[in-house]
Amino acid sequence: MARRRIKINPMALIGLTPMIATAVGVFVICIIYSIVLSFTNSRLLPNFEFIGFAQYERLWETPRWLISVRNIWLFGFFSIAFNMIFGYLLAVFMDQRIKQEDAFRTIFLYPFAMSLVVTGLVWQWIMDPNLGFQSAVRNMGFTDFRFSPLTNEATAIYGVIVAGIWNGVGVTMAILLAGLRGVDEEVWKAARVDGIPTWKTYLFITLPMMRGAFITAFVLQCVGVVRVYDLIIAMTQGGPGISTQMPAVFVIQHISGRSNVGLGMAAATMMLLPIIVLIAIQQYFAWRSRRRAAGIGAAVATLPQAQGVKAS
């Protein structure tokens, strides 16, 4: 198969130059700079005294970092799983041709439009034993009622997860709803003719057809999880103790107030690793499916009938 020659349109090149410069300058160069700094003993000001992997050794001996890593896995797993499940259920609910769909969609999308700082503060108040849910229930007469997840070291991270779900579920719903609406009406008609119950159609027919929407929602959620920072600052400040610390908080505090750029960059590089792995896996699958498609195309092209059809 002859490789097509890529023609470069000079106007397009001119138009794209700023974008290319930004991408290379901001992403490639800055990321390489960060990684280089992680091998130095830079404190407040960057320097280039290389000390090998010492920052990484210290990083993985720091209890606060280990707790941060555990927390981001917990937070990521639960918030993405629940966002997907609830987001899909809400999308199905919205798909029932209900009245006031616009109003409901606005309500469900609203948390996403709100700053995570506001989200964090509101949930902090709700979970505050003296102001929020606990005191409200107690005022109704149930004086033994206890609900204060944020005051307990073991449960605080789940309080943060609840706020994360509340924030993210609406946008997941919106993306999945668009995906649902994109499913061909003919598919529904065919399913109905075959007598398949509605819930089975949703679960086994339309759900697999919405792969694109799910991947979009998943990627958005992953990005939100990796950079979670403002929610923690507003809601718990990493406490009680250090039980709700997150990697992004660790990085920011070390490169600013704590004046240890080397360690902060080592932590930032560690945050980059899982993303690189994710991108690599995705690229591999994309490459494999492209190759398979090319292979099938080539096979079809060699068939005499196909050539005959084309020729006619």
Partner: protein, 416 residues
């Protein structure tokens, strides 16, 4: 009134000719003084600065929270958009800025005015000095080592107000029986760090403190004294009330003011809250230096540093600001509003209350004054210790032996 002074200064400058006016500069000042009393104090600086003959302008940039404010300042200096002046603590937080030559050298001004002669104790000016040059100006002195006790709360439990933490720990069961919260504390990390540090100090004394932080004697971190300090802390914090989470320090002080709680361990800035509530020291409340029978006070506090600017007029204004901040009259006005001690002892102490006098007496004895861990260690290592103490305080599964082992490890690996 100050406006008139300002108008007067400006018109006087106008009469002197246009050169005087062109010397007026704007200086942006970054600080974290946002509470009521703190605002009143920083306003003294702003008004006095604008009242200077040169007609400078004070641009106020207040950022809530010391960590946030210091981070913002550092980022702006590194980003090439340095403010004219910025607040830091008496510590090594800003050492690298001076080493990198990013700060205005105040040595000539300091020598001309004789800062070394009147600023006391020497240690608070020492933190400003690198390679024999002075890069910052201390403006006040605060000490953490105070206990604030409610006299009626102890009376209700049929007890005398204790003078040290061992006696307080013994009093906890009786206080609980009387329905009083023994130790008032808020769940914010800095409150736990600070009070735990005070508890350790009250057991270790000055000798232990120096062995740990100055001499980096890691074995001492595994000693009996440190273990006892941590035990006392565990016993005191076993009875924290439900509302502690997210409670700020002055709401916590209010529990002692209203006799719901017996004792708060908090720095001398808490004194202002008792005064504001109209309580009288020795009758309604008791201030316990140490809290120990052998009390030591640290001389923490605030400094201002002046990042280098390209504009010589701004530089002149920065020097005038530094000079204004240590002026005896401004020191008296500022520290009265702030509730802190002045950095010089030739100011008017007539307004000092009983607790302030206790503090002044202790501070006048150099053997009773010490420097906090931040004087000997880098901010990064101080914060590692803070992480440990906060984790220890909230995670009751962590044994005292484990905490001591980790403490020893941080002391042993801390940077010089």
């Amino acid at each position: 009134m100050n406006r008139f002074v300002l108008v007067g200064a400006v018109s006087a400058a106008a009469l002197l000719g246009s050169t005087a006016i062109s010397n007026a500069a704007s200086v942006e000042v970054m600080h974290w003084w946002t509470s009521g009393g703190e605002q009143a104090a920083v306003s003294v600086f702003a008004e006095e600065f604008e009242a200077l003959e040169s007609g400078h302008t004070w641009i106020d940039t207040a950022i809530a929270g010391g960590d946030a404010s210091r981070s913002a300042t550092l980022q702006r200096i590194l980003g090439g958009d340095a403010p004219g002046a910025a607040q830091f603590n008496i510590s090594r937080q800003f050492e690298e800025l001076a080493e990198a030559g990013l700060l205005l050298d105040l040595t000539d001004l300091a020598e001309a005015e004789g800062w070394r002669d009147f600023i006391r104790p020497d240690a608070i000016l020492d933190v400003c000095e690198f390679d024999g040059r002075i890069y910052c100006v201390p403006v006040n002195i605060h000490s953490w080592q105070w206990g604030w006790a409610s006299v009626p709360a102890f009376e209700a439990a049929g007890l005398e107000v204790p003078t040290n933490l061992e006696d307080f720990v013994a009093a906890i069961p009786a206080l609980q029986e009387a329905g009083i919260i023994p130790l008032a504390i808020g769940g914010e990390p800095w409150q736990h760090n600070g009070a735990l540090g005070v508890t350790l100090m009250s057991v270790m004394g000055l000798e232990g403190h120096l062995r740990l932080y100055r001499d980096r004697d890691a074995d001492y971190a595994r000693s009996e004294e440190v273990a006892r300090g941590l035990e006392i802390w565990r016993e005191m914090t076993a009875t924290i009330d439900d509302g502690a989470a997210n409670r700020n320090w002055n709401d916590t002080t209010n529990l002692v003011i209203t006799d719901q709680a017996a004792l708060q361990i908090m720095g001398d800035w808490a004194r202002g809250e008792f005064a504001l509530a109209g309580l009288e020291a020795g009758v309604d409340y008791e201030c316990l230096p140490g809290p120990s029978d052998d009390p030591y006070l640290d001389t923490g506090g605030d400094i201002f540093l002046f990042p280098k600017q390209n504009d010589p007029e701004v530089e002149a204004a920065q020097l005038e600001m530094a000079s204004m901040m240590v002026n005896p009259r401004v020191q008296a006005l500022f520290n009265n509003a702030k509730g802190s001690l002045p950095v010089r002892d030739d100011v008017d102490f007539s307004l000092a209350d009983a607790c302030m006098r206790k503090g002044l007496e202790i501070l006048s004895n150099p053997d009773r004054v010490f420097q906090g861990a931040g004087f000997y260690m880098l901010e990064d290592d101080v914060q590692r210790l803070n992480d440990l103490w906060v984790e220890f305080s909230f995670n009751r599964d962590m044994s005292i032996e484990e905490a001591q082992e980790r403490f020893a490890n941080i002391i042993a690996t801390a940077a010089e």
